[in-house]
């Protein structure tokens, strides 16, 4: 078990390494460095000062020197400076990262709160009208693009019905640390999280439904029934135990999916997280921030798949042995 985990973590390193080189080169290839960008905004600056600043920031070094310096800093926890916001990226990230984590967590919880009961009902009462509704919901949620759905949700519940705030992560008039502050945060979270959750239930519902329908016809369930086990116990003790556990393995891919969607969700709901920061940074060519955000997302995605694989290997020992 430990051996497998270590092996998987080691396998992550080259992937992160290649990703970092790729992203670094990409951002270096972007037209115009952030200093000249800032310079253009302030035409009173002397061009010689700009050249000096550029030299000092290391923009004239060959790319691999810049890369090594950057990686060194990264490993020491120094993420660099945002040239647009003139602050350290760590500071810039702090709150937004926490916001994104909260949003992700809320989405994840809502996803399972919706998906597990629906999956169980659909599987147990196969071909009933409830099952048909759930399958229909699944088809629709698979088909609908996230950003369109998010806009419609915002339009209906935020603007038309005025039930939820239409931007921000908290009401700025509320004192931090109070109960109202907490409630305001929750209030701001619900709509974006629900939007994300409603579209990320597909995999879990489909898996649970198929799994339960399959398990229903397996011999050990038939045996349990033949022994006179009540229908309730057949489900609770025999089928659920076998079907629910592997859902944990979806956790990783769900995290990856939710992260990918966060760009749209945060942008549409005006929620200040790393997705929104990414869009602003790239529009402003603040590439030090862009590079960090791509790396961070790549890292979290890798961590997600790692988590999935480890959970899966706990559940299904065959995977450990094969590897």
């Amino acid at each position: 078990m430990l051996k497998y985990t270590i092996k998987r973590i080691l396998a992550m390193i080259p992937q992160l390494f290649i990703l970092s080189i790729l992203v670094f080169l990409l951002t270096k290839a972007m037209p115009g460095d952030p200093l000249s960008q800032a310079f253009r905004a302030n035409p009173n600056l002397d061009p010689a000062v700009l050249a000096e600043l550029q030299e000092k920031a290391g923009f004239n070094d060959p790319w691999y020197v810049q890369y090594v310096n950057w990686i060194k800093g990264l490993l020491q926890g120094d993420l660099g400076i945002s040239y647009i916001h003139k602050v350290e990226i760590t500071k810039l990230l702090g709150d937004r990262f926490v916001n994104t984590i909260w949003l992700g967590l809320a989405t994840l919880i809502l996803t399972y709160l919706i998906a597990i009961p629906l999956g169980l009902i659909a599987g147990r009462y196969q071909n009933s009208w409830a099952d048909k509704m759930i399958v229909g919901y699944n088809y629709v949620s698979y088909a609908v693009p996230l950003f369109v759905f998010a806009l419609l949700m915002l339009f209906i519940f935020g603007f038309r019905l005025d039930l939820f705030p239409t931007s921000g992560s908290v009401n700025p008039q509320v004192e931090p640390g109070t109960w109202d502050y907490f409630l305001s945060r929750i209030h701001h979270l619900i709509l974006p999280a629900l939007t994300g959750a409603l579209l990320s239930t597909v995999g879990t519902i489909q898996y649970l439904r198929n799994e339960i329908i399959d398990t229903k016809h397996k011999d050990f369930v038939k045996t349990a029934r033949a022994k006179g086990t009540s229908e309730k116990n057949v489900y609770n003790r025999h089928i659920l135990r076998n079907s629910l556990l592997p859902i944990a393995a979806f956790l990783g891919s769900d995290i990856v999916g939710i992260l990918g969607g966060s760009i749209f969700i945060e942008q549409i709901f005006g929620y200040p997280g790393i997705g929104q920061l990414f869009i602003t940074s790239i529009s402003q060519r603040d590439y030090n921030v862009v590079i960090i955000l791509v790396m961070l997302s790549g890292f979290l995605a890798l961590l997600g798949t790692l988590l999935s694989d480890i959970i899966l290997s706990i559940i299904d020992p065959r995977i450990r042995i094969e590897n």
Binding site: L26, L146, V148, T166, I282
Partner: protein, 302 residues
């Protein structure tokens, strides 16, 4: 010819069909009323969009008319006008045409790359397979949306061809994985061994023996991918990192809703485009799911 003969003829032609051929797919579609309706609606909308946009005077649609800005729907501008006084309906049709066309092109390109690499990896196995699969694994964990946005913003002379190229770079992996696993299973069947002993070269076996057996899976996947690709393109265009300004997309129209005033009070600018995307996606997916059932004998409705 008397009626008995006709019947015999008919049953014979019915018999002489490959399993899971076109007629099975058609039969399945005809049974699924929702899918059939979706197919008809989709074909209708697509025909309308292409014919109407062909007849439309594009420059008239894109000309700014400041005396007529944000006019609500009326007899002349069926869906009103936008901030530049341009006809929303005309933009909707042009945007839909662009989004559809680009969605189709991306689907064709990604399918071509995915099928080629997938079938090669699955058929030959060994180190070829190993390299292709490691490459796919790597792309799969990349933060795709972010990287596409980075690419889009760094290409100097950004145009439609660039955009298609960038999208295709990332979205061929899923179909490649699927085709690989199906090819792996197909390769073990004796008809492939038979073809080898009968002297057929590998490329012939792949093209004429293995691929025909994967055709239904390929069709199903291309259908579902088309929907996905249109969704991704419009989404990126919504964020401002999709199609260039000269080629408006459905996402471009929707992006006007970033302005809360438009979102709240000038819904005619963006809502029709959002609903059109929704309708197109649902239609394609319902057809795709019906095809999927047709391709998988166990799931057929009958």
């Amino acid at each position: 010819m008397n009626s008995v003969d006709v019947n015999v003829q008919k049953s014979e032609t019915e018999q002489n069909q490959a399993p899971t051929g076109i007629h099975v797919i058609w039969r399945e579609l005809a049974k699924d009323k929702l899918a059939l309706f979706s197919l008809i609606l989709f074909i209708g909308v697509v025909l309308f969009i292409y014919i109407y946009s062909f007849l439309l005077d594009q420059s008239a649609v894109t000309t700014i008319n400041l005396r007529n800005i944000f006019s609500p729907p009326n007899a002349e501008n069926w869906l009103g006008t936008d901030y530049g006084g341009r006809d929303v309906f005309g933009q909707l049709v042009i945007g839909a045409r662009n989004s559809l066309t680009i969605g189709i092109v991306i689907t064709l390109v990604t399918s071509f790359i995915g099928i080629t690499l997938g079938v090669i990896a699955g058929y030959f196995g060994g180190w070829v397979d190993y390299i292709i699969m490691r490459f796919i694994d790597f792309i799969l964990v990349l933060p795709t949306t972010m990287l596409i946005i980075v690419f889009v913003s760094l290409v100097p002379r950004f145009n439609v061809v660039n955009f298609i190229f960038i999208m295709s770079l990332f979205y061929w992996t899923a179909i490649a994985r699927l085709i690989r696993s199906k090819t792996l299973a197909e390769r073990e069947l004796d008809y492939v061994s038979a073809s080898k002993t009968l002297g057929s070269p590998n490329w012939k076996i792949i093209l004429f023996q293995v691929l025909p057996n994967l055709s239904s899976i390929i069709i199903v996947n291309m259908t579902l991918n088309l929907a996905g690709n249109i969704g991704i393109e419009t989404g990126l265009s919504y964020l401002g990192f999709g199609l260039p300004e000269s080629v408006p997309s459905l996402g471009t129209l929707i992006s006007y809703s970033t302005n809360p005033d438009v979102m709240q009070n000038k819904w005619w600018v963006w809502l029709p485009a959002a609903i059109l995307i929704l309708v197109l996606m649902l239609c394609i997916n319902f057809v795709g799911q019906a095809l999927k059932r047709a391709a998988d004998a166990r799931q057929r409705l009958g």
